[in-house]
Symmetry: C2
């Protein structure tokens, strides 16, 4: 049974703690703000009003027995760094730290913390990439050096089967899914258009005008393809 401590119940810490608990992990939630402790009670295993810079209190609550500690104090760099120093001193190696700035990240890295999370920056980059090409609906970089992109099909692809397009060999990318609109009739006999997704595309599937395709491939290949199609 996985055991985690979450220090700091801001939006990120709170959501991480409750999601872990909902999925069966044992979660100790820690904050100095009693309002948040009350709010999260029942949604985690135990919620403790404690200052994470209090080494004695951390030891008394057996923080060393955790499989990992999520340090989610963003705003107050001093509190975050002091807590990190204490966690390291207590021999805790599995630390995930949320940061609020590049400076904050750098300090924690110098302390040897390898899992650094900066949600607002990560999602800001994702949104910016999505916006930068009008035919791109979503763009995600993943840690394997691949990118996933969702885009409206280029005109030159319409009417072709996936086998004819031969994307893996021609462009070095793979198609994950095709989002399309299908005609349907409601119970009242009304004609409607429904959005559907084909998430196991086959060689004989035909690309239609207006389809949205979801592609994955090495970052450089995806970017080449985007630059060709816009």
């Amino acid at each position: 049974m996985a055991k985690y401590a979450v220090i700091g119940l801001g939006k990120f810490g709170f959501n991480t703690a409750t999601t872990l608990f909902e999925n069966g992990a044992e979660v100790m939630a820690i904050d100095t703000n009693q309002v948040l402790i009350d709010e999260i009670s029942g949604r985690v295993t135990v919620a403790i009003n404690m200052n994470s810079t209090d080494e004695k209190a951390l030891k008394a609550n057996k923080i060393q027995d955790m499989d990992g500690v999520i340090l989610a104090i963003g705003n107050d760099i001093e509190e975050s760094v002091l807590t990190a120093v204490i966690l390291k001193k207590l021999g805790i190696s599995n630390i995930y730290a949320k940061v609020d700035s590049k400076v904050h990240a750098r300090i924690l890295e110098l302390l040897g913390i390898r899992n650094i999370i900066f949600p607002e920056e990560q999602i800001a980059h994702q949104l910016a990439n999505t916006l930068l090409s009008s035919s791109i609906l979503e763009y995600i970089d993943i840690s394997s050096g691949h990118s996933i992109v969702e885009l409206v099909v280029p005109e030159t692809w319409t009417g072709k089967t996936l086998q004819e397009l031969a994307l893996p060999t021609e462009k070095g990318v793979n198609i994950i899914a095709i989002k399309y609109t299908a005609k349907n009739v409601t119970e009242d006999g009304e004609n409607i258009l429904e959005r559907r997704i084909n998430d196991m595309p086959g060689a004989n599937d035909v690309i239609k005008d207006g389809d949205i395709i979801v592609l994955i491939g090495p970052k450089a290949k995806i970017n080449d393809l985007i630059n060709e199609s816009v």
Copy 2:
């Protein structure tokens, strides 16, 4: 030339504005905090000290001419909602809104805003999924209903070729990449282990003990596979 307005220069808004500008978009950054306006000047096309609930000021600065508006006021729900109402009234349809809570999201949805972004919650879910299985190193859900997972290879896969594993037909998932360690010799003749990535895996590639594989597939298929291998 894509033109965007970013209202609210918190961590999310600031990063979105500067990333868009760095990539060639025209960016109008708006905030009431002069410190942030000064900080972002030079990193966007124009930075304006303006209250986004001031309809006259928005019109005077031609916000209707933008290709999109990023509404990045998280904390103050009233300011965010009031601004959203004004933007809708001015006929702006391409609105991306950052929210700080589910309630905030619900209100904006009722106003007809479809692109809702909640960075801390999205990244909290991603981290929680990653932590929940010790053999999983990263887990991402994407909007096409697929998941991407990075995991240490199950023992039963080692020694097999990708063709033998036949993951697409057997498990309904695709392998995107294989991360592995390779022996190498430094210039000083020292033997070292290097982490490398094979990002175009082929049918004849062999899975070795300790490899990390990156898989993609429909969410249910990925979850079945995770539950089998842990």
